[in-house]
Symmetry: C2
Subunit: 369 residues, 2 copies
């Protein structure tokens, strides 16, 4: 598995990091909710050892959200609150993977997830991708588990097509493999409504659903979750006790308040509008400054854009020169299981406003020039 | 490894849990510090991905505290901030233990630590204990690692004697095993000053030091730390990224403020006075109500008391009847690597005030019948 990188370090503009803009985050509302929690009787309890699976208020709030906006038939018993999606993936890997087991992953994909599976002893097998997402027929026959990002494929942003979704679920049922569905930025879908997850149509019980509040709220809060059958949630909870005992219940209660009083949804709606506008701004700047160098379609969702690099451009040299001038961006190689270069770049647009994006693209154009 | 229990569930009084009284915690001060952090520029940054090893402000604050109060020559580079001591132990186990390696543990000890070592594939070997702590000569010859609680041995509260300390360090140097020193309640020493940790006298570099803010502040905050040579800290940090990416930097900054402005130390000093008084209150109540059933010495430190149960008492029956009447307490068997019963109980006194402790002891006496 390739090395982890800390994507925000070292550059004036990091278009590498598919992260939200922390300047938009309702910091005052969170601070108020946290104070209210700490001043309450349950706040006193939240300072003690408590449920390893998460505070019931947040588990219920997440389950309600999954039922109402993602058609996933979950109750609080189906939810484990984790430290971001990373801990969710780590626990799932521990629960599912025996040393040597084959975990199939999209051949361009999310390395931190791969590292969790590899740490549990998995052999990773690549699944090819095309414009409709992962190619179901090409899933390795030996796969005991498939890790996938079907909503906005990471990093290509491809939406897994309806036919592929049915084929994947059917193959999982037949071949009896687990599907780990990482729906890391479900809410940021701009063209039409978000597509319901695989987990909403999982009659055979093969899908383990992973979500995060890192994109809608903030990565630094380290709040993610698993939605799965209650017995698996119980197993994952036992594993969690060994590595982390439990989460921070005062924070979990504060975030549950932000969800219950509508603050979280208002923030997400506002962020979605702003990110949609930033998507346009990035696309315009790219067409204006780098139309000869990059070809792309507007992503239907997600907070990154995937672009093909024209023939004859030395991508590594461009990356290095842009980085020296203050702009970090990722290339396909940074996401490749085989570590091979391919002529694509990924540009994240949520963290910067229109002016900043235009500046960053000008720097990129100059670095190419 | 025996099962984990959630010690606070189900009883009116839990004397099982060696935890602080959350009613004493400076909740308003923490809420204010958290708000100040979130309102600052570094608060915006704290919402993003950041250093996996902890925010530099808290690492430095912990290093300063270790230098000034525990004679451990640490700088921020020697500190990894973790989610409580549990994550510290989990990461150390992953870094040190190969499957089948022997980890020697005190034969009555801290099961959650054992579970982390066992999960990494360790074979656990027991070390006998006496009134001076672990018996150094009886450490299994095959041990590659010794896990110990030398300050207030968990659960017997024995203080490892000066001679044993030197012998343990010398044997670690000769036999080249690592010592994982879990100093879980360093500050709560009532008779004289706390004894400097093994790590303060570790010339050969064999000691990995684990501490926690769970006892001085609150378990629910999930803040612990490792102090170790910088290369090992770097290794542990890489392992941490896989399971948890990073900590909650907003909270870490807020707690660093509480340490920097003296609030944390004032709270610890106040709690120490209060717990010393509760120690006396528990001892008096036990002598009054259960003098015929229990023999004990006042512990020099820690927030629990270890008592021998008189011959002829059916300890399991007593535990069950007391639990039915609202008082949970632990027996030696709950801490035993061999799961065998021994005639000792552990009674935690920090979480309840003098009146509550007297009530709990009366219930225990009645349950004994």
């Amino acid at each position: 598995v390739p090395e982890l990188r800390t994507p925000l370090v070292g550059a004036r503009f990091s278009l590498s990091a598919g992260v939200p803009d922390p300047r938009l985050f309702p910091r005052a509302a969170l601070a108020r909710a946290y104070r209210r929690v700490l001043q309450s009787r349950r706040g006193v309890r939240s300072l003690e050892y408590a449920e390893a699976g998460g505070t019931p208020a947040l588990r219920d709030a997440i389950a309600t959200m999954l039922r109402s906006t993602r058609s996933i038939p979950a109750t609080g018993d189906n939810i484990l609150v984790t430290r971001g999606s990373q801990m969710a993936l780590e626990l799932i890997a521990r629960a599912l993977v025996s040393p040597g087991a084959v975990v199939a992953v999209e051949h361009l994909g999310y390395q931190p997830a791969w590292r969790a599976f590899a740490a549990a002893g998995a052999t990773l097998g690549g699944i090819p991708l095309d414009a409709q997402g992962l190619v179901v027929e090409a899933i390795p026959a030996a796969a005991g588990c498939v890790y996938t990002t079907p909503h906005h494929q990471y990093p290509t942003t491809a939406l897994l097509s309806p036919g592929r979704r049915l084929a994947l679920l059917e193959r999982a049922r037949r071949q009896r493999f687990a599907i780990v569905e990482d729906d890391y930025d479900h809410e940021f879908h701009f063209d039409g409504r978000p597509v319901p997850p695989l987990a909403s149509n999982d009659r055979a019980g093969n899908v383990i659903y992973v979500g995060t509040l890192s994109k809608t709220l903030a990565p630094g809060l380290r709040l993610g979750f698993v939605a799965a059958p209650a017995p698996l949630v119980a197993t994952l909870t036992t594993l969690r006790e060994v590595i982390d005992r439990q989460g921070d219940h005062a924070l979990e209660l504060a975030v549950a308040e932000l969800i219950a009083d509508g603050e979280a949804q208002r923030h997400t709606n506002k962020a979605r509008r702003i990110y949609a506008s930033r998507r346009e701004a990035l696309a315009s700047a790219l067409q204006r400054e780098l139309g000869h160098a990059l070809a792309f379609e507007l992503p239907a969702g997600g907070i990154t854009l995937w672009a093909r690099v024209a023939d004859g451009i030395d991508l590594e040299r461009w990356q290095a020169r842009a980085f020296a001038d203050g702009v970090a961006f990722s290339a396909a190689r940074d996401f490749a299981l085989d570590r091979r270069a391919r002529p694509f770049v990924r540009l994240a647009f949520a963290r910067y406003n229109e002016v900043e994006l235009a500046t960053a693209v000008r720097i990129m154009a100059r670095a190419l020039g």
